[in-house]
Symmetry: C2
Subunit: 269 residues, 2 copies
Protein backbone atom coordinates (compact mmCIF):
# COMPACT_ATOMS: atom_id res chain seq x y z
CA UNK A 1 0.00 0.00 0.00
CA UNK A 2 1.14 3.52 -0.75
CA UNK A 3 -0.55 6.69 0.41
CA UNK A 4 -0.20 9.72 -1.86
CA UNK A 5 -1.07 13.16 -0.50
CA UNK A 6 -1.39 15.88 -3.14
CA UNK A 7 -1.16 19.38 -1.72
CA UNK A 8 -3.52 22.22 -2.54
CA UNK A 9 -1.10 24.94 -3.59
CA UNK A 10 -0.82 26.58 -7.00
CA UNK A 11 0.77 24.61 -9.80
CA UNK A 12 -0.29 21.06 -8.98
CA UNK A 13 -0.52 18.96 -12.16
CA UNK A 14 -3.69 17.01 -11.39
CA UNK A 15 -3.75 15.37 -14.83
CA UNK A 16 -0.25 13.98 -14.28
CA UNK A 17 -1.11 12.78 -10.78
CA UNK A 18 -4.23 10.98 -12.04
CA UNK A 19 -2.45 9.45 -15.04
CA UNK A 20 0.40 8.18 -12.90
CA UNK A 21 -1.94 6.89 -10.19
CA UNK A 22 -3.99 5.07 -12.85
CA UNK A 23 -0.91 3.37 -14.33
CA UNK A 24 0.30 2.23 -10.92
CA UNK A 25 -3.19 1.08 -9.94
CA UNK A 26 -3.61 -0.92 -13.13
CA UNK A 27 -0.23 -2.57 -12.56
CA UNK A 28 -1.59 -3.88 -9.26
CA UNK A 29 -0.26 -1.25 -6.84
CA UNK A 30 -2.68 -0.61 -3.98
CA UNK A 31 -2.94 3.06 -3.25
CA UNK A 32 -5.04 5.71 -1.58
CA UNK A 33 -4.99 9.36 -2.62
CA UNK A 34 -5.47 12.23 -0.18
CA UNK A 35 -5.65 15.83 -1.39
CA UNK A 36 -5.83 19.42 -0.24
CA UNK A 37 -7.35 22.53 -1.79
CA UNK A 38 -6.16 25.57 0.14
CA UNK A 39 -5.25 27.94 -2.67
CA UNK A 40 -8.55 27.41 -4.49
CA UNK A 41 -10.44 27.76 -1.21
CA UNK A 42 -8.79 31.14 -0.72
CA UNK A 43 -9.84 32.27 -4.21
CA UNK A 44 -13.44 31.11 -3.88
CA UNK A 45 -13.68 32.59 -0.38
CA UNK A 46 -12.50 35.96 -1.76
CA UNK A 47 -14.95 35.76 -4.64
CA UNK A 48 -17.82 34.97 -2.27
CA UNK A 49 -16.98 37.96 -0.08
CA UNK A 50 -15.77 35.90 2.88
CA UNK A 51 -11.98 36.26 2.55
CA UNK A 52 -9.77 33.78 4.37
CA UNK A 53 -8.41 34.67 7.78
CA UNK A 54 -5.46 32.93 9.35
CA UNK A 55 -4.59 32.67 13.02
CA UNK A 56 -0.98 32.66 14.22
CA UNK A 57 -0.65 30.32 17.17
CA UNK A 58 1.67 30.82 20.16
CA UNK A 59 4.02 28.14 18.71
CA UNK A 60 4.40 30.16 15.50
CA UNK A 61 2.27 27.97 13.21
CA UNK A 62 -0.68 29.43 11.39
CA UNK A 63 -4.07 27.89 10.61
CA UNK A 64 -7.23 28.87 8.81
CA UNK A 65 -9.90 30.44 10.99
CA UNK A 66 -12.82 28.12 10.29
CA UNK A 67 -16.17 29.59 11.21
CA UNK A 68 -19.34 27.98 9.86
CA UNK A 69 -19.32 29.96 6.62
CA UNK A 70 -15.63 29.18 6.03
CA UNK A 71 -16.34 25.50 6.69
CA UNK A 72 -19.02 25.54 3.98
CA UNK A 73 -16.68 27.17 1.46
CA UNK A 74 -13.96 24.72 2.48
CA UNK A 75 -16.33 21.79 1.81
CA UNK A 76 -17.39 23.25 -1.53
CA UNK A 77 -13.81 23.42 -2.75
CA UNK A 78 -12.25 20.35 -1.13
CA UNK A 79 -15.20 17.91 -1.38
CA UNK A 80 -16.85 19.39 -4.46
CA UNK A 81 -14.39 21.06 -6.81
CA UNK A 82 -11.07 19.30 -6.13
CA UNK A 83 -12.29 15.86 -5.02
CA UNK A 84 -14.61 15.41 -8.00
CA UNK A 85 -11.97 16.80 -10.38
CA UNK A 86 -9.55 14.05 -9.29
CA UNK A 87 -12.24 11.34 -9.31
CA UNK A 88 -13.29 12.39 -12.82
CA UNK A 89 -9.68 12.38 -14.08
CA UNK A 90 -9.26 8.84 -12.70
CA UNK A 91 -12.57 7.72 -14.22
CA UNK A 92 -11.39 9.06 -17.58
CA UNK A 93 -8.27 6.92 -17.14
CA UNK A 94 -10.49 3.90 -16.54
CA UNK A 95 -9.97 3.66 -12.78
CA UNK A 96 -13.07 3.30 -10.63
CA UNK A 97 -12.30 5.95 -8.02
CA UNK A 98 -14.49 6.80 -5.05
CA UNK A 99 -14.14 10.26 -3.52
CA UNK A 100 -14.86 10.62 0.18
CA UNK A 101 -14.31 13.19 2.88
CA UNK A 102 -13.36 12.35 6.45
CA UNK A 103 -17.03 12.89 7.38
CA UNK A 104 -18.15 10.05 5.13
CA UNK A 105 -18.18 6.81 7.03
CA UNK A 106 -16.19 8.63 9.76
CA UNK A 107 -13.04 7.93 7.75
CA UNK A 108 -11.04 10.62 9.57
CA UNK A 109 -12.25 11.05 13.14
CA UNK A 110 -10.90 13.31 15.87
CA UNK A 111 -11.56 15.84 18.57
CA UNK A 112 -13.00 19.23 17.70
CA UNK A 113 -10.91 22.12 18.98
CA UNK A 114 -13.64 24.67 19.45
CA UNK A 115 -11.43 27.20 21.26
CA UNK A 116 -8.18 28.09 19.50
CA UNK A 117 -5.36 30.14 21.03
CA UNK A 118 -3.76 32.74 18.80
CA UNK A 119 -1.45 35.72 18.98
CA UNK A 120 -2.57 39.29 18.38
CA UNK A 121 -0.09 42.11 18.92
CA UNK A 122 2.02 39.79 21.04
CA UNK A 123 -0.87 38.80 23.32
CA UNK A 124 -2.48 35.36 23.53
CA UNK A 125 -6.18 35.48 22.70
CA UNK A 126 -8.80 32.78 22.30
CA UNK A 127 -11.01 32.33 19.24
CA UNK A 128 -14.18 30.34 19.96
CA UNK A 129 -16.60 28.59 17.62
CA UNK A 130 -13.91 27.19 15.36
CA UNK A 131 -14.52 24.01 13.35
CA UNK A 132 -11.06 22.49 13.47
CA UNK A 133 -9.42 19.47 15.01
CA UNK A 134 -6.87 16.71 14.58
CA UNK A 135 -7.39 13.23 13.19
CA UNK A 136 -7.00 10.57 15.87
CA UNK A 137 -8.68 7.58 14.22
CA UNK A 138 -8.96 6.24 10.67
CA UNK A 139 -11.78 3.95 9.48
CA UNK A 140 -9.54 1.39 7.79
CA UNK A 141 -12.42 -1.12 7.64
CA UNK A 142 -14.38 0.99 5.15
CA UNK A 143 -11.27 1.73 3.10
CA UNK A 144 -10.32 -1.95 3.01
CA UNK A 145 -13.87 -2.84 1.93
CA UNK A 146 -13.58 -0.41 -0.99
CA UNK A 147 -10.04 -1.44 -1.96
CA UNK A 148 -10.95 -5.13 -1.94
CA UNK A 149 -13.92 -4.42 -4.18
CA UNK A 150 -11.63 -2.66 -6.67
CA UNK A 151 -12.26 1.00 -5.85
CA UNK A 152 -9.50 3.57 -5.50
CA UNK A 153 -10.30 5.88 -2.54
CA UNK A 154 -9.70 9.62 -3.02
CA UNK A 155 -9.87 11.26 0.40
CA UNK A 156 -10.12 14.83 1.59
CA UNK A 157 -10.64 16.85 4.75
CA UNK A 158 -12.81 17.77 6.60
CA UNK A 159 -12.70 15.14 9.32
CA UNK A 160 -15.55 14.38 11.71
CA UNK A 161 -15.58 15.08 15.44
CA UNK A 162 -16.69 12.45 17.95
CA UNK A 163 -19.96 14.44 18.13
CA UNK A 164 -20.43 14.23 14.37
CA UNK A 165 -19.41 17.77 13.45
CA UNK A 166 -17.35 18.53 10.37
CA UNK A 167 -13.89 19.75 11.35
CA UNK A 168 -11.19 21.30 9.21
CA UNK A 169 -8.02 19.29 9.68
CA UNK A 170 -4.47 19.22 8.38
CA UNK A 171 -4.27 17.01 5.29
CA UNK A 172 -0.64 16.01 5.78
CA UNK A 173 -1.36 14.76 9.29
CA UNK A 174 -4.47 12.91 8.13
CA UNK A 175 -2.45 11.23 5.37
CA UNK A 176 0.26 10.28 7.87
CA UNK A 177 -2.35 8.76 10.23
CA UNK A 178 -3.76 6.84 7.27
CA UNK A 179 -0.34 5.58 6.15
CA UNK A 180 0.48 4.54 9.70
CA UNK A 181 -2.85 2.75 10.13
CA UNK A 182 -2.12 0.72 6.97
CA UNK A 183 1.63 0.36 7.72
CA UNK A 184 2.08 1.66 4.17
CA UNK A 185 5.32 0.95 2.36
CA UNK A 186 5.47 4.61 1.39
CA UNK A 187 3.79 7.91 2.17
CA UNK A 188 4.32 10.47 -0.59
CA UNK A 189 3.65 14.11 0.25
CA UNK A 190 3.55 15.92 -3.08
CA UNK A 191 3.37 19.70 -3.41
CA UNK A 192 4.53 22.56 -5.62
CA UNK A 193 8.20 22.34 -4.57
CA UNK A 194 10.70 19.54 -5.32
CA UNK A 195 10.87 18.48 -1.64
CA UNK A 196 12.20 20.02 1.55
CA UNK A 197 14.47 22.95 0.80
CA UNK A 198 17.32 24.04 3.07
CA UNK A 199 16.95 27.59 1.77
CA UNK A 200 13.32 28.04 0.81
CA UNK A 201 12.40 28.87 -1.98
CA UNK A 202 15.78 27.99 -3.56
CA UNK A 203 14.98 24.70 -5.31
CA UNK A 204 18.68 23.87 -5.70
CA UNK A 205 18.87 23.55 -1.91
CA UNK A 206 16.83 20.33 -1.92
CA UNK A 207 17.57 18.04 1.02
CA UNK A 208 17.76 14.58 -0.50
CA UNK A 209 17.52 12.44 2.59
CA UNK A 210 16.76 12.72 6.28
CA UNK A 211 17.50 9.60 8.33
CA UNK A 212 14.64 9.42 10.86
CA UNK A 213 17.02 8.38 13.64
CA UNK A 214 19.20 11.43 13.11
CA UNK A 215 16.49 14.05 12.69
CA UNK A 216 17.69 15.93 15.78
CA UNK A 217 21.18 16.42 14.34
CA UNK A 218 21.86 20.15 13.92
CA UNK A 219 22.32 19.84 10.15
CA UNK A 220 18.66 18.78 9.81
CA UNK A 221 16.98 20.72 12.59
CA UNK A 222 18.68 23.98 11.70
CA UNK A 223 16.75 24.02 8.41
CA UNK A 224 13.52 22.67 9.83
CA UNK A 225 11.70 25.70 11.15
CA UNK A 226 8.00 26.55 11.43
CA UNK A 227 5.75 24.64 9.12
CA UNK A 228 8.67 22.65 7.73
CA UNK A 229 9.62 21.49 11.20
CA UNK A 230 6.10 20.17 11.61
CA UNK A 231 6.40 18.36 8.28
CA UNK A 232 9.73 16.76 9.19
CA UNK A 233 8.56 15.68 12.64
CA UNK A 234 5.33 14.33 11.13
CA UNK A 235 7.35 12.28 8.65
CA UNK A 236 9.63 10.94 11.38
CA UNK A 237 6.60 9.99 13.45
CA UNK A 238 5.10 8.11 10.48
CA UNK A 239 8.34 6.19 9.93
CA UNK A 240 8.53 5.37 13.63
CA UNK A 241 4.88 4.26 13.41
CA UNK A 242 5.72 1.65 10.78
CA UNK A 243 5.54 3.49 7.44
CA UNK A 244 8.35 2.28 5.15
CA UNK A 245 9.44 5.73 4.03
CA UNK A 246 8.10 9.22 3.57
CA UNK A 247 8.96 11.17 0.43
CA UNK A 248 8.35 14.89 -0.04
CA UNK A 249 8.02 15.18 -3.81
CA UNK A 250 7.01 17.43 -6.66
CA UNK A 251 3.40 17.40 -7.93
CA UNK A 252 4.07 19.78 -10.84
CA UNK A 253 5.97 17.28 -12.99
CA UNK A 254 5.00 14.34 -15.20
CA UNK A 255 4.79 10.99 -13.38
CA UNK A 256 4.95 12.70 -9.99
CA UNK A 257 4.08 9.55 -8.02
CA UNK A 258 6.56 7.25 -9.77
CA UNK A 259 9.28 9.89 -9.44
CA UNK A 260 8.73 10.21 -5.68
CA UNK A 261 8.60 6.41 -5.33
CA UNK A 262 11.95 6.28 -7.12
CA UNK A 263 13.39 8.65 -4.54
CA UNK A 264 13.12 11.98 -6.32
CA UNK A 265 12.54 14.55 -3.58
CA UNK A 266 13.35 14.39 0.12
CA UNK A 267 13.29 10.87 1.52
CA UNK A 268 12.75 10.27 5.24
CA UNK A 269 13.35 6.69 6.34
Amino acid sequence: MIVVKVGGSEGINYEAVAKDAAELWKSGQRLILVHGGSSETNKIAEALGHPPQFLTHPGGLTSRLTDRKTLEIFEMVYCGLVNKRIVELLQREGVNAVGLSGLDGRIFEGKRKEAVKYLENGKIKIHRGDYTGSVERVNTALLTLLLEAGYLPVLTPPAVSYQGEAINTDGDTAAAMLATAFKAEALLLLSNVPGLLANFPDESSLIQEIPAARVNDPQYMSVAQGRMKKKVLGAVEAVQGGVGRVVFGDARIENPISAALAGRGTVVR
Copy 2:
Protein backbone atom coordinates in the same frame (compact mmCIF):
# COMPACT_ATOMS: atom_id res chain seq x y z
CA MET B 1 -35.67 -0.51 0.87
CA ILE B 2 -36.94 3.03 0.43
CA VAL B 3 -35.35 5.69 -1.73
CA VAL B 4 -35.82 9.28 -0.60
CA LYS B 5 -35.07 12.12 -3.00
CA VAL B 6 -34.86 15.56 -1.41
CA GLY B 7 -35.21 18.40 -3.89
CA GLY B 8 -32.96 21.41 -4.05
CA SER B 9 -35.49 24.25 -3.96
CA GLU B 10 -35.85 26.91 -1.28
CA GLY B 11 -37.40 25.92 2.02
CA ILE B 12 -36.19 22.32 2.41
CA ASN B 13 -35.91 21.40 6.10
CA TYR B 14 -32.66 19.41 5.99
CA GLU B 15 -32.56 19.01 9.78
CA ALA B 16 -36.01 17.39 9.75
CA VAL B 17 -35.08 15.13 6.83
CA ALA B 18 -31.91 13.96 8.60
CA LYS B 19 -33.65 13.45 11.94
CA ASP B 20 -36.45 11.44 10.36
CA ALA B 21 -34.05 9.41 8.21
CA ALA B 22 -31.95 8.64 11.30
CA GLU B 23 -34.96 7.42 13.28
CA LEU B 24 -36.12 5.18 10.46
CA TRP B 25 -32.59 3.90 9.87
CA LYS B 26 -32.11 3.06 13.55
CA SER B 27 -35.43 1.21 13.57
CA GLY B 28 -34.01 -1.06 10.87
CA GLN B 29 -35.41 0.58 7.73
CA ARG B 30 -33.00 0.33 4.82
CA LEU B 31 -32.86 3.54 2.91
CA ILE B 32 -30.83 5.58 0.45
CA LEU B 33 -31.02 9.36 0.23
CA VAL B 34 -30.63 11.30 -3.02
CA HIS B 35 -30.58 15.09 -3.07
CA GLY B 36 -30.55 18.12 -5.33
CA GLY B 37 -29.15 21.60 -4.90
CA SER B 38 -30.42 23.79 -7.73
CA SER B 39 -31.44 26.93 -5.85
CA GLU B 40 -28.13 27.13 -3.97
CA THR B 41 -26.26 26.46 -7.20
CA ASN B 42 -28.02 29.43 -8.76
CA LYS B 43 -27.03 31.68 -5.85
CA ILE B 44 -23.38 30.60 -5.80
CA ALA B 45 -23.18 30.86 -9.58
CA GLU B 46 -24.49 34.44 -9.40
CA ALA B 47 -22.05 35.30 -6.62
CA LEU B 48 -19.15 33.87 -8.62
CA GLY B 49 -20.08 35.94 -11.66
CA HIS B 50 -21.19 32.98 -13.78
CA PRO B 51 -25.01 33.29 -13.56
CA PRO B 52 -27.11 30.26 -14.43
CA GLN B 53 -28.47 29.93 -17.94
CA PHE B 54 -31.34 27.67 -18.84
CA LEU B 55 -32.20 26.20 -22.21
CA THR B 56 -35.79 25.67 -23.31
CA HIS B 57 -36.04 22.48 -25.33
CA PRO B 58 -38.34 21.87 -28.28
CA GLY B 59 -40.59 19.75 -26.02
CA GLY B 60 -41.07 22.68 -23.65
CA LEU B 61 -38.87 21.44 -20.80
CA THR B 62 -35.98 23.54 -19.56
CA SER B 63 -32.56 22.46 -18.36
CA ARG B 64 -29.44 24.08 -16.98
CA LEU B 65 -26.82 24.93 -19.59
CA THR B 66 -23.81 23.09 -18.18
CA ASP B 67 -20.51 24.32 -19.56
CA ARG B 68 -17.30 23.34 -17.78
CA LYS B 69 -17.42 26.27 -15.36
CA THR B 70 -21.06 25.59 -14.52
CA LEU B 71 -20.21 21.93 -13.94
CA GLU B 72 -17.55 22.95 -11.42
CA ILE B 73 -19.97 25.24 -9.57
CA PHE B 74 -22.60 22.49 -9.71
CA GLU B 75 -20.13 20.04 -8.14
CA MET B 76 -19.13 22.55 -5.46
CA VAL B 77 -22.73 22.99 -4.34
CA TYR B 78 -24.17 19.50 -4.85
CA CYS B 79 -21.14 17.39 -3.83
CA GLY B 80 -19.56 19.86 -1.40
CA LEU B 81 -22.10 22.11 0.27
CA VAL B 82 -25.34 20.12 0.23
CA ASN B 83 -23.98 16.55 0.32
CA LYS B 84 -21.67 17.19 3.24
CA ARG B 85 -24.37 19.18 5.06
CA ILE B 86 -26.68 16.15 4.96
CA VAL B 87 -23.90 13.70 5.85
CA GLU B 88 -22.90 15.88 8.81
CA LEU B 89 -26.52 16.14 10.03
CA LEU B 90 -26.80 12.34 9.89
CA GLN B 91 -23.46 11.89 11.66
CA ARG B 92 -24.71 14.23 14.42
CA GLU B 93 -27.75 11.95 14.73
CA GLY B 94 -25.42 8.98 15.14
CA VAL B 95 -25.91 7.51 11.67
CA ASN B 96 -22.79 6.58 9.74
CA ALA B 97 -23.64 8.19 6.41
CA VAL B 98 -21.46 8.08 3.30
CA GLY B 99 -21.92 10.84 0.73
CA LEU B 100 -21.20 9.98 -2.89
CA SER B 101 -21.82 11.49 -6.30
CA GLY B 102 -22.71 9.50 -9.36
CA LEU B 103 -19.06 9.84 -10.45
CA ASP B 104 -17.86 7.94 -7.40
CA GLY B 105 -17.71 4.24 -8.13
CA ARG B 106 -19.73 5.01 -11.28
CA ILE B 107 -22.88 4.89 -9.14
CA PHE B 108 -24.95 6.75 -11.75
CA GLU B 109 -23.74 6.03 -15.26
CA GLY B 110 -25.14 7.21 -18.57
CA LYS B 111 -24.57 8.75 -21.95
CA ARG B 112 -23.25 12.28 -22.27
CA LYS B 113 -25.44 14.51 -24.41
CA GLU B 114 -22.83 16.85 -25.71
CA ALA B 115 -25.12 18.57 -28.23
CA VAL B 116 -28.40 19.88 -26.84
CA LYS B 117 -31.29 21.22 -28.94
CA TYR B 118 -32.99 24.35 -27.68
CA LEU B 119 -35.42 27.01 -28.81
CA GLU B 120 -34.43 30.60 -29.44
CA ASN B 121 -36.99 33.01 -30.88
CA GLY B 122 -38.99 30.03 -32.08
CA LYS B 123 -36.05 28.48 -33.92
CA ILE B 124 -34.33 25.23 -33.00
CA LYS B 125 -30.64 25.74 -32.27
CA ILE B 126 -27.94 23.42 -31.03
CA HIS B 127 -25.74 24.06 -28.01
CA ARG B 128 -22.48 22.05 -28.04
CA GLY B 129 -20.03 21.26 -25.29
CA ASP B 130 -22.67 20.59 -22.67
CA TYR B 131 -21.94 18.28 -19.74
CA THR B 132 -25.34 16.68 -19.33
CA GLY B 133 -26.86 13.27 -19.78
CA SER B 134 -29.31 10.70 -18.45
CA VAL B 135 -28.68 7.90 -16.00
CA GLU B 136 -28.94 4.49 -17.63
CA ARG B 137 -27.17 2.28 -15.10
CA VAL B 138 -26.87 2.18 -11.32
CA ASN B 139 -23.99 0.53 -9.46
CA THR B 140 -26.13 -1.43 -7.01
CA ALA B 141 -23.17 -3.64 -6.06
CA LEU B 142 -21.30 -0.76 -4.42
CA LEU B 143 -24.45 0.51 -2.69
CA THR B 144 -25.26 -2.98 -1.39
CA LEU B 145 -21.70 -3.32 -0.10
CA LEU B 146 -22.09 -0.08 1.85
CA LEU B 147 -25.60 -0.87 3.13
CA GLU B 148 -24.56 -4.33 4.31
CA ALA B 149 -21.63 -2.82 6.18
CA GLY B 150 -24.01 -0.42 7.96
CA TYR B 151 -23.48 2.79 5.99
CA LEU B 152 -26.35 5.00 4.81
CA PRO B 153 -25.60 6.25 1.27
CA VAL B 154 -26.34 9.90 0.49
CA LEU B 155 -26.20 10.34 -3.28
CA THR B 156 -26.08 13.32 -5.59
CA PRO B 157 -25.61 14.20 -9.24
CA PRO B 158 -23.45 14.54 -11.31
CA ALA B 159 -23.47 11.16 -13.00
CA VAL B 160 -20.57 9.77 -15.01
CA SER B 161 -20.53 9.21 -18.77
CA TYR B 162 -19.31 5.93 -20.27
CA GLN B 163 -16.12 7.86 -21.13
CA GLY B 164 -15.67 8.91 -17.50
CA GLU B 165 -16.82 12.53 -17.82
CA ALA B 166 -18.92 14.19 -15.14
CA ILE B 167 -22.43 14.90 -16.44
CA ASN B 168 -25.19 16.96 -14.91
CA THR B 169 -28.27 14.80 -14.68
CA ASP B 170 -31.84 15.02 -13.41
CA GLY B 171 -31.98 13.96 -9.76
CA ASP B 172 -35.57 12.71 -9.86
CA THR B 173 -34.77 10.41 -12.77
CA ALA B 174 -31.61 9.15 -11.09
CA ALA B 175 -33.59 8.42 -7.91
CA ALA B 176 -36.24 6.60 -9.95
CA MET B 177 -33.57 4.48 -11.69
CA LEU B 178 -32.10 3.68 -8.28
CA ALA B 179 -35.49 2.74 -6.77
CA THR B 180 -36.26 0.57 -9.79
CA ALA B 181 -32.86 -1.16 -9.62
CA PHE B 182 -33.54 -2.05 -5.97
CA LYS B 183 -37.26 -2.77 -6.52
CA ALA B 184 -37.78 -0.38 -3.61
CA GLU B 185 -41.02 -0.59 -1.65
CA ALA B 186 -41.28 3.19 -1.94
CA LEU B 187 -39.72 6.11 -3.77
CA LEU B 188 -40.36 9.42 -2.01
CA LEU B 189 -39.82 12.60 -4.01
CA LEU B 190 -39.80 15.41 -1.45
CA SER B 191 -39.76 19.08 -2.39
CA ASN B 192 -41.04 22.46 -1.24
CA VAL B 193 -44.69 21.77 -2.12
CA PRO B 194 -47.10 19.30 -0.49
CA GLY B 195 -47.20 17.08 -3.61
CA LEU B 196 -48.57 17.44 -7.12
CA LEU B 197 -50.94 20.36 -7.37
CA ALA B 198 -53.81 20.54 -9.84
CA ASN B 199 -53.58 24.34 -9.80
CA PHE B 200 -49.97 25.21 -9.05
CA PRO B 201 -49.12 26.94 -6.67
CA ASP B 202 -52.48 26.51 -4.89
CA GLU B 203 -51.57 24.01 -2.16
CA SER B 204 -55.22 23.21 -1.51
CA SER B 205 -55.38 21.66 -4.99
CA LEU B 206 -53.22 18.70 -3.91
CA ILE B 207 -53.86 15.55 -5.93
CA GLN B 208 -53.94 12.77 -3.35
CA GLU B 209 -53.61 9.75 -5.57
CA ILE B 210 -52.85 8.80 -9.17
CA PRO B 211 -53.46 5.16 -10.06
CA ALA B 212 -50.59 4.27 -12.39
CA ALA B 213 -52.91 2.29 -14.66
CA ARG B 214 -55.19 5.28 -15.16
CA VAL B 215 -52.58 7.97 -15.68
CA ASN B 216 -53.83 8.69 -19.18
CA ASP B 217 -57.33 9.50 -17.95
CA PRO B 218 -58.14 13.13 -18.80
CA GLN B 219 -58.61 14.07 -15.13
CA TYR B 220 -54.92 13.31 -14.50
CA MET B 221 -53.31 14.30 -17.77
CA SER B 222 -55.12 17.62 -17.99
CA VAL B 223 -53.20 18.80 -14.92
CA ALA B 224 -49.92 17.15 -15.80
CA GLN B 225 -48.20 19.65 -18.06
CA GLY B 226 -44.55 20.48 -18.63
CA ARG B 227 -42.23 19.54 -15.81
CA MET B 228 -45.10 18.02 -13.84
CA LYS B 229 -45.97 15.73 -16.74
CA LYS B 230 -42.39 14.50 -16.69
CA LYS B 231 -42.67 13.87 -12.95
CA VAL B 232 -45.93 11.93 -13.29
CA LEU B 233 -44.70 9.82 -16.18
CA GLY B 234 -41.42 9.17 -14.32
CA ALA B 235 -43.40 7.96 -11.30
CA VAL B 236 -45.61 5.72 -13.42
CA GLU B 237 -42.53 4.25 -15.09
CA ALA B 238 -40.99 3.51 -11.68
CA VAL B 239 -44.16 1.75 -10.50
CA GLN B 240 -44.29 -0.23 -13.73
CA GLY B 241 -40.63 -1.09 -13.17
CA GLY B 242 -41.37 -2.69 -9.83
CA VAL B 243 -41.28 0.15 -7.27
CA GLY B 244 -44.08 -0.34 -4.69
CA ARG B 245 -45.29 3.24 -4.76
CA VAL B 246 -44.06 6.73 -5.50
CA VAL B 247 -45.03 9.57 -3.17
CA PHE B 248 -44.54 13.27 -3.95
CA GLY B 249 -44.25 14.78 -0.49
CA ASP B 250 -43.34 17.88 1.45
CA ALA B 251 -39.74 18.39 2.65
CA ARG B 252 -40.52 21.57 4.61
CA ILE B 253 -42.36 19.85 7.48
CA GLU B 254 -41.28 17.85 10.53
CA ASN B 255 -40.94 14.09 9.91
CA PRO B 256 -41.14 14.57 6.13
CA ILE B 257 -40.14 11.00 5.31
CA SER B 258 -42.55 9.30 7.74
CA ALA B 259 -45.35 11.59 6.57
CA ALA B 260 -44.81 10.67 2.92
CA LEU B 261 -44.53 6.98 3.83
CA ALA B 262 -47.89 7.33 5.59
CA GLY B 263 -49.40 8.66 2.38
CA ARG B 264 -49.25 12.42 2.94
CA GLY B 265 -48.72 13.95 -0.47
CA THR B 266 -49.52 12.54 -3.92
CA VAL B 267 -49.33 8.77 -4.07
CA VAL B 268 -48.74 7.00 -7.39
CA ARG B 269 -49.23 3.23 -7.23
